[in-house]
């Protein structure tokens, strides 16, 4: 399976919309320097590990470790499929 960092970021964004809500999630994504379209799809071109690290750190800093716990397992599984390296917070 051809998994990219964009897939991981999109998974996290969608998951956090269920955990902390849409508005708060959009605020955090913007704070991390990433962009979304009106449907909540990531529009940042070719995000990388540094973008992933910045995003998950922003969720952790603003809304605590539950936001990491709530997506970590799914991210781990998807990253393994694509053999993608993860930031420490998601390992």
């Amino acid at each position: 399976m051809d998994v990219t960092y964009k897939d991981l970021l999109q998974l996290i964004i969608q998951r956090e919309m269920g955990i902390i809500g849409v508005e708060k999630t959009i605020d955090v994504v913007k704070k991390a320097g990433l962009t979304l379209d009106s449907e909540g799809k990531l529009t940042t071109p070719k995000p990388n590990k540094a973008d992933l690290e910045r995003l998950i750190q922003a969720f952790h800093d603003d809304y605590g470790p539950v936001t990491v716990m709530g997506c970590k397992i799914a991210v781990l599984r998807l990253a393994r499929q694509g053999n993608l390296e993860l930031p420490k917070l998601l390992q």
Binding site: E16, M17, I19, G70, K72, A74, L76
Partner: protein, 241 residues
């Protein structure tokens, strides 16, 4: 803090008597079924929630009429307040649960006798003839876990299953609830095979509503939520090693 102040009738004579607070990712969802002479309190919650839940219960029924408390397993967030409730409910109270939970529950100081579902044909027949059927959902996430299906309202009281991890709580599930649900189950359920085993049992039931102990009540697209859990990968500690 964002406290829900009023009970909500989710079906005739069935009320949500829970407690919502902004800081908690796992919300407490106790329910009351009133059926003539019988009143069943489903999973009353933790000790810190006792006063709020008791107040909500009192708005629906006289607590002294509660003659059954039902708990799907022994976790403190579901049932640590039972000894406090014993002070205000009927002296004829029985605790409805699985025999494996009944071994552990007395450690909270519960004094009432147990109605063990696994030695009572997996059902409880109320005085009116109404039946509560118990669906065995082993290892989700306790060996003796079960769900309760009310044959009259067709509501499935699902305990921890179908619960959500969410700070954006609403009483009824919104479009993002499947994500909150996945977040909870990935962290608290042991494996996809175990989830799938129990979800296949639910497919045989005519369910109008799923009322979990945590998170939001599911009142539409029931099959979609069952499919979501049947296909969810969890059991991360085995996976990571």
């Amino acid at each position: 803090m964002d406290h829900q102040l009023q009970p909500v009738e989710i079906a005739p004579n069935i009320h949500w008597v829970g407690y919502a607070e902004e800081w908690a990712g796992l919300h407490c969802n106790p329910y009351i079924i009133e059926d003539g002479e019988d009143v069943i309190l489903i999973e009353p919650g933790s000790i810190p929630h006792f006063s709020s839940v008791a107040r909500m219960v009192s708005q629906v029924v006289n607590p002294a009429r509660i003659n059954y408390i039902l708990v799907s397993h022994q976790d403190p967030d579901l049932c640590a307040s039972i000894p406090r409730f014993e002070e205000i409910v009927s002296p004829d109270l029985q605790i409805v649960t699985h025999s494996r939970a009944a071994v552990l529950l007395p450690h909270y100081g519960i004094k009432a006798p147990y109605y063990n579902i696994d030695t009572n044909d997996w059902k409880l027949t109320l005085k009116s003839g109404r039946e509560l059927k118990f669906i065995f959902t082993p290892y989700m996430h306790f060996p003796g876990s079960f769900m309760t299906y009310d044959t009259k309202s067709k509501i499935l009281f699902s305990g921890d299953v179908f619960g959500g991890l969410s700070f954006d709580w609403s009483l009824f599930a919104n479009e993002f609830y499947p994500e909150a649900m996945k977040a909870f189950h990935e962290n608290y359920m042991p494996s996809r095979a175990i989830l799938e085993h129990s979800m296949n049992k639910l497919r045989k039931l005519d369910i109008t509503m799923i009322a979990p102990q945590h998170g939001s009540i599911i009142n539409k697209d029931i099959g979609k939520y069952i499919d979501t859990l049947a296909n969810l990968e969890c059991g991360d500690y085995l996976f990571v090693d």
